[in-house]
Symmetry: C2
Subunit: 767 residues, 2 copies
């Protein structure tokens, strides 16, 4: 798994810049320069068209197509319907020509190419000088997707004559002919396209799922121009004929309003309603819309930056990650969620995984708590699907899916979708984590407890009682470590479910005492049986957590210690990735793991494990880990930092922050590793920052990598901004607004008030 | 699993007879009245056509079509090509009409219907009186598939006027328009059809697998007739116009020669060669061909009958089973094998399973040793495919497929095809069983040892060494009990592989000493490494066989005793079959089993286990067994008989002998349960006969069910016929030819010579 940086972008603390066009990285750049605003996303493709290989990607969160899953034999309970995020219309469609000469960076002569994304503003710019047969033109593009108004996208094109004089034709379109990139075909049926007054609009429907996308644009031109309104089978467009005089310039602007329909609203009703939305925006408002968008980003960075002194490349990488996370999701709509590649590619099908609760949620809890709540509300909205799925599997309660867009199971591989029963408990964990840190009882005592109870019900119906020991546990599961299929009593799963049972009971008990009306109402709504809580309690108390008491090492599952040993280090490099190069069944029958389940619980519930136990588990599992999961090195880094193994901590963090900027995995062309960016953020805050969130107070135990002079991060925490600054001398905590909080620093409980808190860095915490 | 007899056939010791047509059982009768001769098979359909629902089935052993297997995700090593036995041409195609009145038992008026199969002769007869508008005609059909000449099938139609007078038209055809019944489409492309002299012939090729079937017929008529030669797109036929006078009769005969091509022989060459074969048979030879066929059956019954006094229904059932087994396979061609439904239906796709070696082979060893050898030669012919499959799975040696026709894996469900690693060891077991009983060193020291060694190699590459105990074993397997997927160290698998290792080494050692030239040549051919035998020995010595030493109960696999308990008796009847009614994943996570793996080894290697251990295992596993495998009750019956649980023995044997005659499983319409018939034979011989074959001599420990006055069976054994007669007083063994043998009777070693051997039945052995 040797990873080599493919570096071609400038290192800058705030700006991602491509100086000179790098066609060999064309699709990688398209991913990196992606813009998004949770509702929609566009890759950084050249909107004017280009004959160089490219992946024109334009996505709407939650808009998908469906198809049947064909199993060789369809056993009861197998998922039957697959769905995948659709590549949608190119609403930036632009064609520019001068006479018979069409602008095409694959063919045209040009110079001075620069493409840049200023993370402080969220505006993508690109410019170059086009050497036409009739003289030079400086071409500038600007685009943004409003972070304030989810439906709105904007484009500005400036054409400045550098000696050129003559007629230019610019065509601005809304184009549904764009194909699903990884399938080479379209899943759209264009229903309607019209020029209606100021707007040009188009609407299409997916072939099977019946979802619709509508797009309308207003366009304007700073100079006088002939405007021709046109339409093709899947496109509606306006062509501007402009006479550009020598050394003058012309600016074209377009504001696009996109809407989606997932509920099969009547075509006509949806069209009219969407057009109304579009008409409310005034074309003169480009600057206003731009300003409010840029203002949004200013506010973000004022409160939520991470600063690293001494590591400019990772400084850039971490900020790029923060930027992309906000772009992917910021809590506008609880029916939306985060997919593995955000809105930047088709890989992983736009599906949401348990990564949302385990890897992404902390970022939102500490940066945008309202968004964090909405991520959980998404699960509440899909609770009916989870309950239905539990029934299909012969269980009760709520069985959340392995991967999904609309809440139904879309994992086509039954062995993952059905054996990885740790997905629902990740949601319980998320509810606990969010509620514990924000104190949001409104959520907890409403939707939260309903999910907690239904999830507990699921586990109470899915498990069994050992005939030998009388313990409760789960037989036939696959843990997060997917290199062991159908094992019994995976330590991660069992531990997490124990916690979930206990938390569900604690919340219900708290409600019974402190919110009896809500308690009564939830008991009634859920038809909560008399024995249910008692059963959960018994199950939690008797939960099997396999561990070697002598060494403290948790046994990943029953019989794991007995399995044949494999020297992971001796696997030849060319055999990776093992999934591609090994016979499938060979993956499962040794003690090699893909990611360390035992470490994960020791990170999530840090307080419950001694340093000695953590060290023993780290040493044992590290040597058995193949890191075939991209989430694995992050956990190793966090645990190594905690245990004072500074070099390992920094080495495992390694490429995390620049995974995409340097295309370490050679697949950034397919889209960004969005959820990995959340992990990179966790690596700074939980890893080097040493934050732990499972105690009564926030606790910090920072460490400082060799290379870093200092670093600083900020957390939103219970209506305060809490800053953590670490340098080679000291750690300094400060707080802004709303009074003092209790924190733990290097194991010592302290009060943090407006005066701040300072402590000398212990020698062992500095690399 | 309540099984109810659907009885409509007469009970007779030798004849299967349907008196009066039972259209409600039409397809069941088609299965029951199937004829076959190993090379080909036809269901008992009405060849004259019928508008009542029917399943016209005509099969050639080993002729299949192929198609890709589509997995939702194609992991490395998954089987990719499926193949299935094709329903082929209707070479009995007949149409009979009188003016505009076509004979059709779905519509025509008729009486006196009788269909009968005399097991002593192997000739299927059917007759009825057809009440035409112009008077009555007695119609008689006779058909047979020569047991002596595999390519030959025969038909005779006799039309006797019972008052009728006028013209009758009879059309005799070879028809390739017959559809694959369970898919409703044809996979045949008719290439050529001709009337060439006396013969009419047709040839077709499958669409994808490229196999060919050729069919030629000679027809004759006892009366003067106009003969018209005809052909349609997929049929070639001859129509006879006959003037039938009052109270006279006419007989039509046809002899068909069918040939197959599996090796893509040039069409023209195959056609000419086949036609030559057909021309060698003289049409005047119908009676001669019939006589030699009937003679074959006479010889079979003279030596290989089972007689049961006091149980006429089971007497009939057992003989029907013996008859069908001989029809399905009698060792004509080592490239052919036995499929689960023989040549009587499309279910199970004509695939061969490990049932051949474990359930069918004993029947052939004791009835037709040459056929038994050929069943093993089939495995030798497909050794290259098994070696290729081992490589695909990241292993060495030979990995025989779960199910196949041509030796490649055709199990579309990877979890069975890949986890049930006990298939190759069943072949080792078969080689041992055959060689041990027949003493055939020619086979053993040639093809036998080559397979044994390659199979041992496979297991040496597939297993691993326990880190805790240093034992050898197999992780991630599925035992014959398919209710536990991906378990570690299944006791059946481990035990059988230990035996296979030991036997392979023993044979090699024996060869080294007694056949050094053959030994050297095999070592060279296999490139047998110096360490290989030593490794196998070590693996056998350290093989993990999980057992509770205190109770003697074998643990079906690591951790089985710990699994949650399920009260199998409390599952409601309507939940069966569980595969259809339960969520798939629910099947695997309790101690409920589908069939008893631990009992199976105690039956195969009876000498190695004490009665106490057998009893403990029977009691433990019986209550946990759902018998969802049709092979399960048989093993229970055999073990119960051994342990003197007479009622259980008889009750588990229950429907085995009449499974199809009484359509207990409601699926006889799909075809006969051929391999279950072998199990029914085993139930008499090994169960009530108490035969065990794993000791140095044959050993007998008979018991007598309450209902039986006496029973008798015969075994071919080392060029002798050995008769066993058991009644309520005594057991009598006698032997025919070739000198004395040593046997064990009720635990006592004796010499059995031509005087015979008699022993009083112990009280405990009579129910």
């Amino acid at each position: 798994m040797s990873k080599v940086a493919k570096k071609y972008l400038a290192t800058d603390p705030w700006i991602i810049e491509e100086d000179g066009f790098h066609p060999e990285h064309a699709e990688v750049s398209e991913s990196i320069f992606s813009l998004g605003n949770e509702f929609m996303g566009v890759r950084g493709y050249f909107e004017e068209g280009c004959t160089i290989e490219r992946f024109v990607g334009s996505f709407f969160n939650g808009i998908f197509e469906e198809e049947p899953i064909n199993h060789p034999v369809n056993y009861n309970g197998f998922p039957r319907r697959f769905h995948f995020m659709l590549n949608s219309l190119d609403w930036l469609y632009t064609r520019i020509s001068v006479g018979k000469e069409a602008l095409d960076l694959g063919k045209s002569r040009f110079s001075g190419f620069i493409r840049s994304l200023d993370l402080r503003e969220g505006v993508l710019k690109r410019s170059f000088t086009w050497h036409t047969g009739k003289g030079d033109i400086r071409v500038e593009f600007e685009r943004m997707l409003s972070m304030v108004r989810p439906n709105v996208g904007m484009q500005r094109i400036t054409l400045s004559s550098l000696g050129f004089s003559g007629r230019i034709e610019v065509k601005l379109g809304l184009d549904f002919s764009n194909l699903q990139h990884n399938r080479g075909k379209s899943f759209w049926n264009t229903l309607r396209k019209e020029h209606c007054g100021d707007e040009s609009a188009i609407m299409a429907r997916t072939l099977k799922s019946g979802q619709k996308v509508f797009s309308a644009m207003k366009t304007s031109c700073s100079a006088e121009a002939d405007v021709k309104k046109e339409a093709g089978p899947q496109i509606v467009s306006r062509s501007y004929r402009i006479n550009l005089k020598e050394n003058e310039k012309v600016t074209l602007q377009r504001i696009v309003v996109n809407t989606t329909d997932k509920k099969a609203v009547d075509d006509d009703v949806f069209w009219k309603r969407s057009l109304e939305t579009a008409r409310k925006l005034d074309i003169t408002g480009y600057e206003k819309l731009r300003a409010e968008h840029v203002g949004y980003w200013k506010k973000i960075w004022a409160a939520q930056d991470i600063e690293i002194d001494g590591d400019p490349e990772n400084q850039q990488g971490v900020r790029f990650g923060i930027f992309q996370l906000h772009q992917t999701y910021h809590g506008v709509d609880p029916s939306l969620n985060i997919s593995a590649k955000g809105l930047t590619g088709e890989e992983y099908h736009g599906h949401t995984w348990w990564d949302t609760e385990t890897y992404c949620l902390p970022f939102y809890i500490f940066n945008n708590p309202a968004a964090a709540r909405n991520l959980l509300e998404y699960r509440y909205l899909t609770l009916p699907q989870a309950k239905q799925r539990a029934i299909e599997k012969g269980c009760k309660g709520a069985r959340y899916p392995m991967e999904t867009i609309d809440g139904t199971e879309a994992c086509s591989v039954w062995q993952h979708g059905d054996l990885e029963i740790h997905v629902p408990v990740a949601i319980s964990y998320g509810i606990w984590h969010y509620s514990h840190l924000t104190g949001d009882k409104d959520f907890l005592h409403g939707h939260g407890i309903e999910m907690l109870a239904e999830i507990s019900r699921y586990y109470a119906s899915r498990g069994g009682w050992s005939q030998l020991t009388g313990e409760y546990g789960f037989w036939c599961v696959m843990g997060p470590d997917e290199f062991h299929m159908m094992v019994n009593n995976n330590c991660y799963t069992n531990f997490m479910v124990k916690k979930a049972f206990e938390y569900t009971i604690a919340v219900l008990e708290e409600m019974r005492k402190k919110a009896p009306a809500k308690f009564d109402s939830i008991v009634k709504k859920l038809n909560l049986g008399k024995d249910e809580m008692g059963n959960w309690k018994k199950m939690a108390e008797h939960m099997r957590i396999p561990q070697d008491r002598k060494t403290g090492i948790y046994e990943q599952h029953d019989g794991y210690f007995d399995m044949p040993h494999l020297e992971v280090d001796k696997i030849r490099q060319e055999e990776f990735p093992l999934y591609h190069n090994w016979a499938y069944y060979k993956l499962f029958r040794t003690d090699m793991i893909k990611q360390p389940d035992a470490m994960l619980i020791q990170y999530f519930y840090s307080k419950e494990f001694s340093d000695k136990v953590k060290k023993a588990n780290f040493n044992f599992y590290e040597s058995r880990c193949s890191h075939e999961s991209s989430l694995s090195p992050g956990v190793h880094s966090i645990m190594a930092a905690e245990l004072g193994m500074h070099d390992k901590a920094y080495s495992y963090w390694g490429h995390a922050a620049r995974l995409d900027l340097d295309n370490y995995n050679n697949n950034t062309n397919q889209g960004l590793h969005t959820t990995s960016m959340a992990a990179a953020w966790m690596n700074v805050v939980y890893g080097f920052g040493g934050l732990r969130t499972d105690g009564e107070f926030l606790s910090f135990r920072p460490s400082l990598p060799k290379k870093w002079k200092s670093f600083k991060f900020s957390l939103r925490y219970q209506d305060r901004i809490l800053d953590v600054h670490v340098d080679r001398e000291k750690v300094r905590l400060s707080i802004d607004g709303n009074g003092a909080v209790r924190v733990e620093l290097f194991g010592k409980a302290c009060t943090l008030d407006e005066k701040g808190l300072e402590m000398k860095m212990p020698a062992g915490r500095i690399a």
